[in-house]
Amino acid sequence: MVTAATSFSRSGVSDWLIQRFSAIILGAYTLFIVGFIVAHPGLDYTTWKSLFIHPLVRIFSLAALLALVAHAWIGLWAVITDYLTSRLLGAKAIVLRLLVLAIFAVVTFAYMAWAVQILWGLQ
């Protein structure tokens, strides 16, 4: 079996499965938020805030965030292994891919930290 150090779970099959699970969570979360907005025309601040303060919604948001990190990592990995290839770029390709992933790791971490601050700073 080929294992790849930079893939999310080091195995294509589990990456594939995680991509599906995370897609389902992200899709459900998106539809949930959209549904809430559609169900509340003329939405005001208090109603909007009360949604994200609800403990179950906090758990759902956290699940969506974790799903996003995994989903985005696997997605980006798939894309750059298709385009930043050694055939096109030679030995530079691996360096470039590592660089892209490293930058993305920092970006994702910042997203996470920010989201936690937004949602858990609410009172």
């Binding site: 599906r20 897609a23 389902i24 899709g27 601040y45 909007w48 985005a72 980006l76 937004i118």
Partner: protein
């Protein structure tokens, strides 16, 4: 496997079938969303921070530039979601024939365009 295989990278000679368009758009929308999350988090932050910032966001959203950026990100999300759901349905073995694939791809385009138009109406 042969080491040196023929490669055609002349994009202008490659004509994508509808299924190919749906696929590459899913990829592009996914990559757009990697950055689009920044906009989504900004919207979340501004809408939740305080009553004032909620009102300020509403005012900002009446500006054309902000509106277009938000519409673009929400459109990418809408397309990616619709095409992603088709992916999940096909993973379960539904619509995997050539004809089924074409029909599903067309359906994705129609539904996604509908949602994107609805988003535009909602924003304007």
């Amino acid at each position: 496997m042969k080491k040196v295989r023929p490669v055609n990278l002349d994009m202008s000679t490659i004509h994508l079938p509808v299924t190919g368009w749906v696929s590459i758009l899913h990829r592009i929308s996914g990559v757009v969303l990697l950055g689009g999350v920044l906009v989504l988090l900004w919207l979340l932050d501004a809408s939740l921070r305080s009553q004032d910032s909620f009102a300020h966001l509403q005012a900002m959203l009446s500006g054309l530039g902000v509106k277009l950026v938000v519409w673009a990100v929400l459109s990418a999300l809408a397309y990616h979601l619709v095409a992603g759901i088709r992916h999940l349905i096909m993973d379960m073995g539904v619509g995997e024939t050539l004809e089924g694939g074409r029909r599903g791809a067309k359906l994705v385009l129609v539904v996604a365009l509908g949602v994107i138009a609805a988003l535009g109406v909602w924003l304007w």
